[in-house]
Amino acid sequence: MSIDEATSGSGSALRRAREAALAELRRQPVAVPWRREAIRTVLAVLGTTALVLGVGGWVSIVEPGRLGERPLQVALLIALQSLGVFAAIAPGKGALRWTGALLAVVAVAAILFGRGAGLPRAIPAIACSGSHLAVDLIPLGLVLYSLRRFSWSLGRAALAGAAVAATGALAGELSCQRGWVHVLVHHVGAGLLIVAACVLISRTLRPQTFAP
């Protein structure tokens, strides 16, 4: 007989676990499909981005009129937000996460190559990093909430962080005219900080479930 077949655990522990699970099932009898949850989060992140850009435009920090000047970068960043958040939440789907990671690299390259030498501006360069980080805060909160719903993984957390950082990158594309070195240091650098924050914070949060 295999020792695997031995189930020496106390009956009371098995009963307790069953009762707790049944009580949970009665609280929420119908399962919420993961796609619905993922789409909801994607829409919330995209909605927040639209709000940030709208408010930025209203206070004349962001120039929405530049949307047409950098269509490739804007399209890549919106795709990164959508696919990144969706892939980070999707169960399994390793290929989808790799696609999201590739998209992040392509988006960063497109932003850097799209800048050239750039134009000087009066405001300090560090203000760009600060505003990049600030506009990412609400999307970061949204994805951290979603990441808590399943077991932590480095790939998911990093991809979710990259998708969040795309919010600040979008705002940067529509408000900053500086050159690629500035973008690399102050925008990509801020984006990497967001990725690191997403990974570290999600790692410390206790997940609601341990599902993969």
């Binding site: 699970a21 993961w34 479930t209």
Partner: protein
């Protein structure tokens, strides 16, 4: 004799809130999961808590189940994740468990035909690194196929095989004195 209802059919009913379907799945997997968790965390009380955590996760996250690797791999994956998280939070290291907690899983060895050998196997298992122990437990003791082990551990089939192979090699070395005697 009536055929057993498949895991996926039960899962579909369970996702619609069918308690009877949950009951069948629970009876099918809870004892195996409890044994797995006990060996993984080497602590009876913690294993019992983790069993409850595993099934709470199972209920809450059932909308995330996709029938690719099968339910058995999925539910073992939940248990392994919960166990790993508990060990990480407790700051447990493999060495912590050597010695004092040997008696915690004594119930298992009592049912084997060769109790000293069973005890030696359990003690050797405790000395394996966590990754190797998980792979060996899932494959050898719980009968999961390598694709299932890979899915449960969130890795590739090749990596799961390597972990298990290294675990078996280490067990062989650890158990050699017993075999010779």
């Amino acid at each position: 004799m009536e055929a057993q209802e498949s895991d996926d059919a039960l899962m579909a009913r369970f996702c619609r809130g069918d308690e009877a379907a949950f009951g069948v799945l629970y009876d099918r997997y809870a004892p195996q999961l409890e044994a797995f968790l006990r060996r993984l965390v080497r602590d009876q009380t913690l294993a019992e808590d983790l069993l409850q955590t595993t099934f709470l996760s199972f209920v809450r996250a059932r909308g995330r189940y996709v029938a690719t690797a099968g339910l058995r791999a999925w539910i073992f994956s939940i248990a392994a994740n919960a166990g790993r998280d508990a060990l990480r939070r407790r700051g447990a290291r493999r060495e912590d468990a050597l010695g004092p907690e040997v008696g915690n899983i004594g119930g298992d060895v009592a049912v084997m035909s060769d109790p000293p050998m069973a005890r030696a196997i359990e003690a050797a298992l405790r000395q394996l690194p966590e990754e190797q122990r998980e792979a060996v437990l899932l494959h050898k003791m719980h009968g999961l196929s390598f694709p299932e082990v890979a899915s449960a551990l969130g890795t590739t089939v090749g990596a799961a095989k390597v972990r298990a192979h290294r675990g078996y090699q280490r067990l062989k070395v650890l158990l050699a004195p017993l075999e010779n005697s």
